[in-house]
């Protein structure tokens, strides 16, 4: 294995891991405040689409990125209103996001570009590399420790976590629980939004209804595996990312004559599942994650 190949593997691992990392980090923040959003998959898809539309129309990738984040934030706002203020069911609202995205995006692709299936943005719309790598990848490595710091080392983070652990006590202590949860939902979802545009305008540079390919659900599993800790989330995301890349390499090699490709495809999921199941025993979710907070 020469140097170039090694570098290529590393970069591929990084890119495969980045959407998982962004999405799971956002969800960790959200769930720490008590808001569970299983609609990560849908947010990635919607944001990926919106990012391409805006990037392609303006030929400005930065605007595309911002639009993608904005779309995520908007979904987070709606989800937060439904769950934090209207005390709706977290799972049903999240399911709604996924279903909506799956229905809307294929239609949107056709409505905007008149094509069916997929659309590839032109080169001016794609995110340019910085020092040879994706700037969003770099940003993810900065954002994760930052979120960790905010959650565990600041007074704001303390208030946020109190909302997910014991909203009644948080309320009695002077924390505005609903507002905090809404905010966390918005921030959390914008992370998945960023993950979506990362895929559609940066890494894969295409938009199809299969863009997230289950990554939103893997991100959810990683949240669990990471015990709601962003630094462990980093580990989980890269375990999955690496095994995924490794499988891609195996597919090219002679091995695929021996093992069917479809079976190989399942391996990253199995690895993550194994790691997740191994960790689940000691994981301790925020007590009120997904439980609507009702004042007595």
């Amino acid at each position: 294995m020469d140097e170039a190949m090694l570098l290529s593997i590393l970069l591929q691992t990084a890119y495969a891991s980045t959407p998982l990392l962004l999405s799971s980090t956002g969800e960790i923040l959200s769930e720490r405040a008590g808001i569970v959003n299983i609609g990560l998959e849908g947010i990635m898809l919607l944001s990926g689409f919106v990012g391409v539309v805006v990037g392609q129309e303006t030929l400005n990738p930065l605007l595309g990125i911002l639009a993608g984040i904005g779309a995520g934030a908007l979904v987070g706002l709606i989800h937060g209103m439904i769950t934090a203020y209207m005390k709706g069911d977290h799972v049903i609202s999240g399911l709604g996001i996924n279903l909506f995205a799956l229905g809307f995006v294929p239609y949107g692709i056709y409505a905007v570009w008149g094509v069916r299936g997929y659309f590839n943005p032109s080169d001016q719309a794609k995110v340019p590399k910085v020092f040879g790598v994706s700037p969003i990848f770099i940003a993810s490595l900065v954002l994760v420790p930052l979120i960790y710091y905010i959650l565990f080392k600041t007074r704001f983070g303390l208030s946020l976590r109190a909302c997910g652990e014991d909203p009644h006590s948080a309320d009695a202590s002077g924390v505005r629980v609903e507002r905090m949860q809404l905010l966390a939902s918005v921030i959390g979802a914008s992370f998945s939004g960023l993950a979506g545009v990362f895929m559609s305008l940066d890494w894969l540079t295409t938009i199809t209804k299969d863009l997230p390919a289950g990554r939103g659900f893997i991100a959810l599993a990683i949240v669990n595996f990471a015990n709601w800790n962003p630094l462990l989330g980093l580990l989980g995301s890269y375990v999955f990312g690496f095994s995924w890349v490794a499988i891609e390499w195996l597919k090219i090699s002679a091995l695929k004559q021996v093992i069917p490709v479809t079976l190989l495809n399942t391996i990253p999921y199995l690895v993550t599942l194994a790691v997740t199941a191994g960790a689940l025993g000691r994981s301790r979710p925020p007590k009120y994650a997904g439980v609507p907070y009702k004042k007595e």
Binding site: L158, E165, D166, S169, A172, S173, G174
Partner: protein
């Protein structure tokens, strides 16, 4: 003339009607002086919490005036109350269990918060020492209460409202807690102490206001108060604090426990070789500080926990580790210690809860094992009437009942099994005077009718007042078994602290 005491709080003609039409307070007036400990006494539902939440700005009164240090106030929210130095420690703990004491104290401070004294200094001055770095879930309730008080004081409270702070505290914890309160009083803090426990109010307060059904039924200095009078003011009629007890005529043995050994969940020994027997026509009491194995002992006898060694005989039959259903069919009923966890299924209706465990009875069934709703309705309505259970409708979830009424559902259900032996664990914990008196009288009636009662309670007065014979458990062993009439409360207290009966000169 003595100098006029400074008035801290004056509440005049406060009324409160809740949105659902409940008149919780009816023209309540009360005066609290600076630097005193003022007791607010009343049964559950009397309106104590409502009154205090109004003073704390948590809810708005329907009518009336509030003056704090002479100035009329009107609070938009409790933030306004905190600003002028009123702090409240709620009835239900408001600390985040997984956070440390320190984190809890800092939680939710307003962004423009300026500390008047540093936390360190505050701890030194008040003498309230708590392990700041420990998580709340790892400390005792007594310490958690202290953390709450620190939290409130740190926010600058001069007036402290404590809503039933001693619920769930052990005797020792209460003692220590009271010395903290006396300390705060010395520092000039004004304390409002809410309770339905006569003894505590008599012990710690300077003045007492008694509430009954939303009205002030009496207001007097503690030095002039007697338990009997306070009880009367609370309940509105004479209460027999000393239960009338005829001599017992114990008969045959009904329950015999032989060298029983039981483990805790963590595998350590909770009960280490306990033996005793209960006879028809007597109340056998087990006293002890909570956590000394009495819960595990009862659980083992009632089939809820495995007995590792030893034997249990009920009516002569070996029932060691028998299924609770078998015990019930043999005539044993159990009022469990924790009504919410073991006694009731909170999300099921009062009607459903009233037949839990007896739901297999033919009476409640139609052919094909279908419930006979009418019979169940009759049954629950009989209980509601007989035990004076306050419930909006029989299909309301048990969760919506007050603690006292939940307990009455459990007690009523267990008595409706017409048992020969009833095992009652902490049957009156957290209940008001009226409900307590009623449940105690039921136990006595059982005994007087020739049935047997095994009573486990950490309330010495209760055990001493009811039992014919009493055993004291300490670290899983009996320190002694004695006729109640031949031991003093002090001696029981010493045994609860780990002295064997032989060591303190009783035989």
């Amino acid at each position: 003339m003595p100098p006029e005491k400074e008035v801290a709080i004056e509440m005049v003609n406060i009324s409160k009607v809740y949105p659902d039409g409940v008149l919780a307070l009816d023209k309540v007036s009360l005066t609290i002086y600076k630097g005193e400990i003022h007791g607010i006494l009343g049964e559950n539902g009397a309106g104590k919490t409502t009154l205090m939440r109004i003073l704390y700005g948590n809810i708005k009164p329907t009518g009336g005036k509030i003056k704090v240090f002479g100035k009329e106030v009107s609070f938009g929210s409790s933030k306004d109350a905190i600003k002028i130095g009123i702090g409240m420690v709620h009835q239900h703990p408001s600390l985040v269990p997984v956070f440390t004491a320190l984190e809890n104290i800092y939680l939710g401070l307003p962004s423009n918060f300026k500390e008047q004294v540093s936390l360190k200094e505050l701890i030194e001055r008040t003498g309230i020492k708590v392990p700041l770095e420990e998580r709340i879930e790892d400390v005792s309730l007594g310490i958690a209460q202290k953390v709450e008080i620190l939290k409130v004081l740190y926010r600058g409270a001069e007036i402290l409202i404590l809503d039933e702070p001693t619920t769930n505290m052990t005797v020792e914890e209460v003692k220590e807690f009271f010395s903290t309160l006396r300390n705060l009083k010395k520092m000039g803090k004004t304390i409002i102490f809410i309770s339905h426990k006569l003894k505590e109010v008599l012990d710690i307060t300077d003045n007492i206001t008694v509430l009954r059904r939303g009205k002030v039924s009496g207001s007097l200095p503690t030095s002039q108060a007697t338990p009997e009078e306070l009880a009367k003011l609370m309940v509105g009629r004479e209460v027999f604090l000393k239960l009338e007890k005829q001599g017992s005529r114990p008969g045959e043995k009904i329950l015999r426990v032989e060298d029983l050994w039981v483990k805790r969940n963590d595998g350590s020994w909770a009960v280490k070789g306990v033996s005793f027997e209960v006879r028809y026509g007597e109340i056998f009491g087990i006293a002890g500080v909570e956590g000394n194995g009495q819960s595990e002992l009862i659980e083992a006898i009632t089939g809820l926990r495995r007995a590792e060694r030893g034997k249990v005989f009920f009516k002569g039959e070996n029932v060691t580790n028998a299924h609770p259903l078998k015990l019930y069919t043999m005539g044993l009923a159990h009022i469990p210690e924790d009504r919410q966890k073991t006694g009731l299924i909170l999300d099921m209706s009062v009607a459903e809860n009233s037949i839990l465990g007896i739901h297999r009875k033919r009476d409640f069934l139609r052919p094909m094992m279908i419930f006979n709703e009418n019979k169940i309705k009759e049954h629950v309505e009989r209980l509601i009437q007989q035990y004076e259970i306050v419930v909006s409708k029989i299909n309301a979830p048990a969760r919506s009942l007050s603690g006292g009424n939940q307990q009455k559902v459990v007690v009523g259900r267990e008595f409706s099994k017409t048992p020969d032996l009833i095992i009652a664990s902490q049957p009156t914990r957290g209940l008001d005077v009226g409900a307590t008196e009623y449940i105690r009288s039921l136990l006595l009636k059982m005994r007087n009718n020739g049935k047997a009662v095994l009573l486990m309670s950490s309330d010495i007065d209760e055990v001493m007042g009811l039992s014919d014979r009493v055993a004291v458990i300490y670290e899983g062993e009996f320190m002694g078994i004695s006729e109640t009439s031949s031991v003093s409360e002090k001696e029981i207290g010493m045994m609860m602290g780990g002295y064997k009966m032989g060591e303190i000169g009783i035989k």
